[in-house]
Amino acid sequence: MFVISVISFAIQDGLGDPLRQMVGQSVSDAEREQLREDLGLNDPVIVQYARFAANAVQGDLANSYFYGEPTLDVIMDHLPATLELVIAASLMIVCLSIPIGVYAAIRPRAWLSKFFMGVSTVGISIPVFLTAIVLIQLFSIGVTVDWFPADTGWGTWLNDLLSTDGGMPSYGRGQDLTHLFGTWDSNFFSWDGLLHLMLPAVSLASIMLPLFIRLIRAEMMEVLQSDYIRYAQAKGISPWRINFLHALKNTMLPVITVGGVQIGIMVAYTILTETVFQWPGVGLMFLEAITRSDIPLIVAYLMVVGLIFVITNTVVDLVYGLVNPTVKLTGKKA
């Protein structure tokens, strides 16, 4: 955390003069200087950092230049939207990657497995914003296909099959939000909310999904080669129990470690998804803060994201310790 705070602070120096953004051209030099003094921008770097760190420890990350309110409040306003996006995408990843990865490992020769592996190779090569754009084109705007002769039955059928209606919302979170607590308004509890969540979450999930499928498949194939799997077969245990208890539990150990880190990284990718879908989360807020040179907000964002990484890593370690009996929670190997 300390490293992050130093880095965040260092960025302040680089990011140019916030006053230009704040006050425009019409203000006189004297007034400008006065404002600088008020904001403490003329103090030496060390003093500025000390003040910054002292405040940060108390949870005070200064006021946003643009919003004019404490940065943490601004972030708290935007954070739930991002978290919901990440949660929804993670759910999709978990629900899809495990069955597909396991299937591809159990039946590596089946054409369906080859199809999945091929798709995931292609998937890795598609940038997330492009996935998002294609999704918008297909499901929000809609595509009309008229390549096939419309006067024949099969032509019409194929045209209809390949055309999409569109109409899926692709902008913002919608109106129908359920208030949970604090600043948390949820998309999960209404049809309209879920519809708005759909496209952004799918495109966010699409970055990590191929990665997870490949990872699970590779790990599972290795586990299936092991002695204890063959021993379980020799005991006459049903294949279902072998695959989903004996093998999957061992497969998930490395997947949990890698997966936790990846979910942290997904927060970074929300910047892209939120931009495309105008999703009012912290990613979009961060990008706007950059264009507005809203330094305190940028710094606070980095601090919060750093905190999220630390939290996810801790949670991952805890979960790993729970699942893997050979690791004591103190971190020592037994």
């Binding site: 080669q225 092991s226 002695d227 204890y228 063959r230 021993y231 379980a232 077969q233 020799a234 005991k235 006459g236 245990i237 049903s238 294949p239 129990r241 208890l245 004996h246 539990k249 061992n250 150990l253 699942v323 893997n324 009996p325 050979t326 037994a334």
Partner: protein, 332 residues
Amino acid sequence: MALLEVNNLDVRFAVRGGDLKALRKISFSLDKGERLGLVGESGAGKSVAAFSILNLIARPGYIAGGEILFEGKNLAAMSDRELRRIRGNRIAMIFQDPMMTLNPVLTIGTQMIEALKAHRRIGTRAARQIALDRLKQVQIPSPDKRLDQYPHELSGGMRQRVIIAIALLLDPEIIIADEPTTALDVTIQAEIMALLLELCEQHNVALMLITHDLGVVSQVTQNMLVMYAGRIIEQGPTKEIINDAQHPYTQGLINALPQMGEPGRRLYQIPGAMPSLNRIPTGCPFHPRCQFATDLCKQEMPEYVTSGNVDVACHEVRKLIEEEQQQREMTS
């Protein structure tokens, strides 16, 4: 009828550029309560033979021909579902390395109870009681506690005891033990082996013991098979083979044993090494290492000949026997 009868079993590995023949026309039988030893150097196909009996050979291996009759039913032709009813239940296996055999993320209890539940309609509590009982039989201290422990909390010897207990769980007819003690400390090898033998006798279980330790085989088995490069080259009663081995390879194995009463003698070594599966020589596979090899050995695979109660696959032995017969005919 023998309990288990293997006839002309062929096992191959499908690899790029053709099949590798891992087992070639293996035939043997095992009676109720019998103890059969299977010896050979590493790479001779002992483990493949063990696994193929339960049709458990890993891809790309497959059974290419022959039959495995267990109580008259052919295991090689059975569906997976039927096979599962036999695996662990009627025929149990003990693997080589107890460190790798138990699933590291499941408790000992889970791994014992699931085996019982897979074959019997039984409640968890009753299954646990049987598991506890078996752990007592293999002389594991505080068995109640062990059931809730994970494999890594037990020593290697303990784990192999657990595995023996699992093998005995369902009162099988046959236990196939694939080098059950090689991965253990030398000091506890004898202990585990003695335990295994005692329990097999107690429960009247037939034991197929796979090992490269001729000493153990000579002490505990009634019959034995000697394998070389995927073939059985000599089989019969253990005593006869140990006392009067016919095949030059078996002779070499026996001569390589350290002998009591002859301290200080240099140990004999069979020259050369076992060929790998993709370059098995033509004719008798042993001929490049055999001091008696003739041109015939290089060209033709020897058939089995019977000498006393022992079957041997060797041209030279056949010649000797035929000569003896001629002499006997001439004298009579």
